[in-house]
């Protein structure tokens, strides 16, 4: 039995009459490689938003390492070890790739409030940022503005920024969406190489990716958890094949 | 009884002032809500319209009502030219560039009007039937104020019907709420922008003409009252016709009451109230409703 990092109890969120997420009991273990799948509009992104604190739930709790973090705002959750990427890039588009990652790293190491020393003098932060970029094969773009990069490269920056936070829980919202398949392996390799202590939750539509990557899969439909299990179990479940996998095999 | 008359006259005065604010500001609110364009030159269009209206009356002897229509049409036409050639280039620009651009336009307008027409105030000569006082049964009141209130009510009803019942109105509402969705529904957003902009500027022109009796009309007009128009829009909410209407009335009446009873407070209260209102409802008092 591995340690439970993050769990939710009866988590729900409604927008007016529409329950986007309801009654979700979910658990992410330390070192987990967990995929969240489901049809469009199943509430996956809303669920991630609830975990990361972008949205507040209307019902239920979010618990991190035994601590109730339901009311804690997004920025403080990052300090507690939850980081995420976004389905649509949210980057500092006018800044360079290095600056993007620098901002994340400096926030984490507590350098970002320092206003009397040059940013360039924080060699530790620069070094760490550059190593991250090297890992994602981005170092040659380090000096370029994000807005000048092709979309696929920008997705890598999106991940680099999240990794700069050295999270214990990493929430990836369709990290490979819009990335040419030639490059998507860089993303997955990087994620695969992450420390084993980190719990990773990934939303992904590409079933090849999901089955290659995940050790555990949760299927979400209509805002509720429809099934959960190992890839084998999920693949073997005829109902899921009918409801979900079947739909997607021809996508 | 005296108290009743007092309250009535106060409300009438405030409402009349509010109507002018509404007529000028409604176009600003809709264009800002629709296009997300911070158009500080809106007051310049109001001024342009005011000049067309007053000068056509004074020099060509055009009667009041046709002059209003003429001012509306001329200003709307001019604004289309500006919208297509200049504004359209800045729809995707940052707020700041829009502010800079429209302030530039305001300066140019002020300077041009000063050069071409002169720095002096232009007098609106009201038709005799709109001068003096009228008996409302319960009180005597300034005829022109009553006329303004009636005009304002007709305009807000017309706009409300137009927004709620016509195709264009529905398109505008849809685009204010979600532009991307509207585009995907096949709404020609550019054409909608042009139409709305022209209409909004035309309304501003009407406001410039109708309000000249209270606010005067000189080259500085484009800048002088801008803050009031912006306050009305901010309090009423962007892209909200009824919101702007209520906000204009609220500000008009409050301003009137405060001036009458606490003249020594100057504008302190109205700015203070605006701050409180905006802190309380940052998206505007009436942002919840769809029109």
């Amino acid at each position: 039995m591995t340690a439970c990092l993050l769990e939710t109890n009866a988590l729900g969120r409604s927008f007016g009459a529409l329950a986007a997420v309801s009654g979700v009991e979910f658990r992410l273990d330390a070192g987990a490689r967990h995929a969240l799948i489901g049809p469009n509009g199943a509430g996956k992104t809303t669920f991630i938003n609830l975990l990361s604190g972008v949205l507040q739930p209307t019902l239920g709790r979010v618990v991190l390492k035994g601590r109730d973090i339901t009311g804690i705002p997004e920025a403080r959750r990052v300090k507690l070890g939850i980081a995420r990427t976004f389905q649509i890039n949210r980057l500092f588009r006018g800044l360079t790739v290095l600056e993007n990652v620098y901002i994340a790293v400096s926030e984490r190491v507590g350098a970002a409030a320092d206003m009397f020393r040059p940013a360039g003098a924080r060699g530790d932060v620069i070094r760490e940022a550059m190593h991250l970029l090297a890992m994602l094969k981005l170092e040659d773009d380090a000096g370029r503005r994000v807005s000048e990069l092709p979309y696929g490269r920008q997705r890598l920056v999106e991940i680099a920024v999240a990794l700069g936070l050295k999270p214990e829980v990493l929430l990836l919202d369709e990290p490979a969406a819009g990335v040419p398949s030639a490059e998507s392996h860089i993303i997955l390799d990087a994620v695969g190489r992450l420390s084993k202590d980190i719990g990773v939750l990934i939303i992904e539509h590409d079933m090849d990716v999901v089955f290659r990557f995940a050790e555990r899969i949760t299927v979400m439909v209509g805002g509720r958890i429809f099934a959960e299990g190992t890839p084998k179990e999920i693949a073997a479940d005829p109902e899921i094949r009918a409801v979900y996998l079947g739909q997607h095999s021809h996508v | 009884m005296i108290f009743g008359v007092d309250v009535a006259s106060m409300i009438l005065g405030g409402v009349a002032a509010g109507m002018v604010l509404f007529i000028v500001s409604v176009g600003l609110s809709v264009t800002m809500g629709l296009m997300g364009f911070v158009n500080l030159a809106h007051g310049a269009f109001a001024m342009l319209g005011g000049y067309v209206i007053v000068l056509s009356m004074n020099y060509w002897g055009v009667p009041f009502l046709p002059a209003l229509a003429f001012g509306f049409v001329v200003t709307a036409a001019v604004s289309v030219v500006f919208e297509r050639t200049l504004y359209a280039r800045l729809y995707r620009a940052a707020e700041l560039e829009q502010v800079l651009f429209t302030i530039g336009l305001v300066f140019m307008t002020i300077a041009s009007v000063t050069l071409l027409i002169g720095p002096e105030n232009q007098q609106l000569r009201l038709p005799a039937m709109l001068q003096g006082q009228v008996n409302l049964g319960f009180t005597q009141y300034r005829t022109y104020s009553v006329f303004l209130i009636a005009t304002g009510i007709i305009i807000v009803l017309g706009l409300w019907l137009g927004f709620e019942r016509t195709r264009i109105g529905a398109q505008i509402r849809a685009t204010v709420d979600n532009r991307r969705m509207a585009e995907s529904l096949g709404i020609n957003v550019n054409r909608l922008f042009t139409l709305t902009f022209a209409f909004g500027s035309g309304m501003a022109a009407l406001g410039g003409g109708l309000g000249a009796e209270f606010l005067g009309l000189d080259p500085q007009y484009a800048l002088k009252y801008l803050v009031y128009f912006l306050i009305v829009v901010a309090v009423g909410g962007l892209g909200r016709v009824t919101g702007v209407f209520y906000a204009a009335l609220l500000i008009g009446v409050l301003d009137f009451v405060l001036k009458k009873y606490i003249p020594k407070g100057g504008t302190l209260f109205i700015y203070g109230l605006t701050i409180l209102l905006l802190l309380w409802r940052p998206q505007g008092l009436f942002a919840g409703k769809s029109t």
Partner: protein, 338 residues
């Protein structure tokens, strides 16, 4: 895992970043020019002083607008608070030693910035624009109403400003002392702003400007950063205002009016915001133009200014410095093969 020869920390981009705060070769030129002005135009030092104060004020705005991306229309509020702090203390005989008065101006303006920042910076867009505007208007009206203390519309004139350091007199006709004094304060303030801008804090401000939502997602205390930046900026604007009051021996309502707030905004955007030297270029361009056109053709200087603003907004979105940068980039691209 990574070979030392390929150490990414030695990558050119990393080295460039590590050294980006080093002074550029051309930076001293700006200050040399400011000194040259002193000797070259002894009859224009009044104008020069006003220009330097405008630069400092624009710099303070650059910090909030250009770096943190806070769009405010009420920055003159802090300029005015600084000016009135100096003015009222001197006029009513409490304190008038120039340098310490200036510090008091900075402190009072910072407090006002802190207070209003805590409240206003919860909003954004048009709401923030209007709130900042109304706050300034409120202060202006308060200064008007409190004429017993503030002098109202007439302002407080003939402020008794003693000699600087007990040595240099503030002569109204030949404002040499004023010019050098203001230039010195500007230089020190600039060094401070430059340090802040190139610090990790400054970097995080640009992050907020570029994408506030992502800043939350990297764990940044966004509001605290914004309020801090706003407070610093208010303090600097207060210093600019204090200098204005000292240099003119005078303070009045226009120090916190919309005209001044709009003017500094125009100056900054004209020069190019988020660039520090944009404040310099913009102030010089605006003030010289206004001055020159006003002399040449007093009834229509506005027309030229309006036209310039329109052209800048349409064709040169990053201001005059932006044009310069674009030209430089093109030039470099031509020189480099491929």
């Amino acid at each position: 895992m990574i070979a030392p020869a390929l150490n990414p920390a030695l990558h050119p981009a990393a080295l460039a970043f590590a050294g980006r705060h080093q002074p550029r070769v051309w930076e001293p030129i700006v200050w040399i020019l400011a000194l040259v002005f002193y000797f070259a135009f002894p009859n224009h030092l009044g104008f020069g002083t006003e220009l330097l104060i405008t630069i400092l004020f624009a710099l303070s705005l650059d910090l909030v607008l250009g770096y943190a991306g806070i769009v405010t229309l009420g920055h003159a509020a802090f300029f005015g608070v600084g000016a009135y702090t100096v003015g009222m203390l001197a006029y009513h005989g409490f304190w008038n030693e120039p340098i310490s008065s200036l510090m008091l101006a900075a402190i009072v303006a910072a407090l006002v910035g802190l207070g209003s920042g805590l409240v206003l910076l919860r909003t954004q867009g048009l709401t923030l624009l209007m709130l900042s505007l109304c706050t300034m208007a409120l202060l202006e009206e308060a200064a008007n109403l409190g004429h017993e203390y503030t002098g109202g519309f007439d302002g407080l004139a003939s402020l008794p400003i003693p000699k600087l350091l007990g040595l240099f007199e503030f002569n109204p006709l030949y404002p040499r002392t004023q010019y050098v004094y203001v230039l010195t304060v500007l230089f020190i303030s600039f060094l401070f702003i430059r340090t802040v801008v190139y610090s990790p804090f400054g970097q995080s401000l640009t992050g907020i400007r570029e994408n506030t939502l992502r800043m939350h997602a990297v764990g940044s205390p966004v509001r605290a950063r914004l309020v801090t930046c706003y407070t610093i900026s208010a303090a600097i604007a207060g210093i600019a205002g204090g200098l204005w009051a000292q240099a003119n021996a005078y303070v009045n309502l226009t120090t916190l009016g919309l005209d001044r707030a709009a003017m500094v905004l125009i100056v900054l955007i004209l020069g190019g915001c988020g660039r520090m030297y944009g404040a310099f270029v913009g102030a010089v361009a605006y003030m010289v133009l206004a001055h020159f056109l006003a002399k040449l053709y007093p009834t229509a200087w506005q027309l030229g200014l309006g036209f310039l603003l329109v052209v800048i907004a349409l064709f040169a979105r990053n201001g005059i410095l932006g044009i310069g940068e674009a030209l430089l980039r093109r030039f470099r691209a031509k020189r480099m093969p491929r």
